[in-house]
């Protein structure tokens, strides 16, 4: 009885110091966060600045006379491009959805096998993934161009090279490494096949990593331009269109920022939705195994 009272007292003191610590952390992160957010804040307000305010001295941290002119200019330029603007939107949405879905499914399946199954060649493939992340060379693009001979100027050229991302696989593999082997063995004894184990046991356990992978996949897919693999204007994506709208010197800096801000909206929305899922995981993860 006395013991339990003592421990309650002790823990209340601990809660107190914990709270003080949390406030300190909050203050530290806020100060650092202001510096991190400042350039993005400047980009956003620049998108709302009229041209004459871009070159005011001293430069202001706020907009005197906010305007939507930059956005209007941007959409006007976009609607005068070779191809209807809707086409770029369609291309981007199609490519982003296909790449994100395929990447998440394929990478997490492969990651499960590489993390948890002892198969001939497994160690080699694990090493290959990391090594391929470290090898960066501009010659690769030429070789990809050669390999894609038949697929150039199709949607496949935009989608396929982006699907097998070693980064996503590596992330999932590392995260799945901490799934207890005993859990998988138990399911095997119960007669579950490998895919069932993956789908019913491992995946529900990997929500944070899965959601994080989705953020990476979406972000990469959203920025796909196709480079030299796609030359037909009707196959180009939004980043290409946005770059065209923004490329007219520093006088159009406001329009460039408007384009950057608009392009940033979908990744941020996906980020917020996914990150909320990541954080909710904590509340339920008491029951593991």
């Amino acid at each position: 009885m006395t013991k339990s009272i003592a421990s309650v007292k002790g823990s209340s003191r601990m809660v107190g110091s914990r709270l003080a610590g949390t406030i300190m952390i909050f203050l530290f992160l806020t100060i650092l966060g202001i510096f991190m957010a400042l350039p993005i804040y400047l980009a956003v307000i620049m998108a709302f600045k009229p041209v004459q305010e871009l070159f005011v001295f001293p430069p202001k941290l706020y907009v005197l006379d906010p305007t939507l002119d930059n956005f209007r200019d941007m959409f006007r330029t976009l609607s005068n491009l070779w191809v209807p603007f809707e086409r770029y939107v369609f291309n981007s949405v199609l490519v982003t959805v296909c790449v994100t879905l395929a990447q998440c499914v394929f990478a997490s399946m492969a990651a499960f096998v590489l993390a948890k199954c002892r198969i001939p060649g497994g160690t080699f493939l694990n090493k290959l993934i990391v090594v391929s992340l470290l090898y960066q060379s501009n010659v690769i693009y030429i070789m990809q161009y050669l390999i894609m001979a038949r697929l150039r100027d199709t949607y496949w050229a935009l989608i396929l090279p982006a699907v097998a991302s070693p980064m996503c696989l590596f992330l999932m593999r590392q995260s799945m490494a901490s799934v207890p082997d005993a859990m998988i063995e138990a399911a095997k004894v119960d007669g579950a096949n490998l895919f069932t184990i993956f789908w019913k046991i491992v995946i529900p356990n990997q929500k944070p990593a899965l959601m994080t992978m989705m953020i990476f996949a979406f972000q990469a897919a959203w920025n796909i331009q196709g480079g030299s693999l796609v030359s037909r204007e009707s196959l180009k994506t939004l980043p290409t269109a946005a770059a065209q709208a923004a490329s007219a010197g520093l006088a159009r800096a406001g329009v460039a920022m408007a384009a950057a801000v608009v392009m940033l909206v979908p990744p941020v929305v996906v980020f917020m939705l996914a990150q909320r899922q990541v954080i909710e995981t904590m509340a339920h993860s008491g029951i593991k195994e």
Partner: protein
């Protein structure tokens, strides 16, 4: 003897056919669009290749030119090493520290702070940095420093050889809380809470003990992932510099190995030479990765 071993391997493969089937979609695409191009590009470093004519074998001459005659390459090695040694470890520690501190906050604040620190990796706003560091009095930094009377004349942050590398390092640090940071955030979120309860019973008193005895060992795989990402990020940086201080930078002060490869590959179309440059960078990163995984591996056991 050898035959029975082969038979055994084949039997193992057959027994694991389900596993191979699950690997297949990713590995096939990975093989065709990543591994094959990489393997095809490996020998290019030993050739003279201008993208118009077929590659011509020249042995080690690209490599000997690089180390013996190309003073700008030697300069770029120096820049890359300074750059990587400053940004790599700092950004790695920042990734871990911030991911951990955010984890200690109440739920609502977690998303907000994660977004603030990760946003630079999503936004493509180098134009803003150009305005901040702009060399005239319109630049935000110059105007602030002038107002505070720290400087009396505007500083040419983007063109003065004394400042360009520092400027680029600041911006690189700003964008460096990327994949590694987010993976660590996910890792923290997935640590089993019962481990902390068990730790509390065994006498763990404060956040730091929790960090050392529970969190870090549980986070080893994510820390390895973040390390690889930071190595790649800090060694292959070049785009930040190119879009910020121009190409080539003043006196090649921010000229990294990657910029050098870009110069020879996409400006002069000497792909053989560019490929040799990339190969050297690859070897450096490989060694760095070996060293880090050894350190992390030892620490985890």
């Amino acid at each position: 003897m050898g035959g029975s071993r082969l038979q055994q391997t084949i039997r193992q493969i057959w027994q694991n056919r389900e596993a191979y089937l699950m690997l297949a979609p990713f590995m096939l695409i990975f093989l065709i669009f990543t591994v094959v191009p990489v393997v095809m590009s490996l020998p290019i470093g030993f050739t003279d290749f201008n993208m118009v004519q077929l590659p011509k074998f020249v042995g080690l001459s690209n490599y000997s030119t690089l180390f013996l005659n190309d003073t700008i390459f030697i300069q770029s090695i120096r820049v890359t090493l300074i750059f990587a040694l400053l940004t790599g470890p700092v950004s790695y520690v920042l990734c871990f520290l911030l991911a951990w501190l955010i984890n200690e906050l109440p739920q609502k604040l977690k998303t907000l702070f994660t977004l603030i620190f990760y946003a630079p990796s999503m936004a493509n706003v180098y134009t803003v940095w150009q305005l901040i560091f702009s060399g005239d009095t319109y630049g935000y930094l110059n105007s602030l420093l002038l107002k505070l009377r720290i400087i009396t004349a505007p500083v040419q942050w983007l063109t003065d050889g004394r400042f360009v590398l520092g400027t680029v390092i600041v911006v690189q640090l700003w964008v460096s809380l990327g994949a590694g940071f987010l993976a660590l955030r996910a890792g923290f979120q997935n640590i089993d809470r019962t481990l902390y309860e068990a730790g509390a019973i065994e006498g763990i008193r404060n956040r730091f003990q929790e960090l050392i005895y529970i969190t870090i060992p549980a986070m080893a795989p994510q820390m390895m992932f973040a390390a690889v990402m930071q190595i790649v990020g800090s060694f292959t940086a070049g785009t930040v510099a190119q879009s910020l201080v121009g190409f080539p930078s003043t006196d090649y002060k921010a000229h990294t190995i990657m910029t050098h490869a870009y110069d020879y590959g996409w400006v002069r179309f000497e792909m053989g030479y560019a490929s040799a440059i990339c190969m050297i960078l690859f070897v450096v990163m490989l060694l760095c990765n070996k060293a880090i995984s050894r350190i992390l591996g030892k620490y985890m056991e």
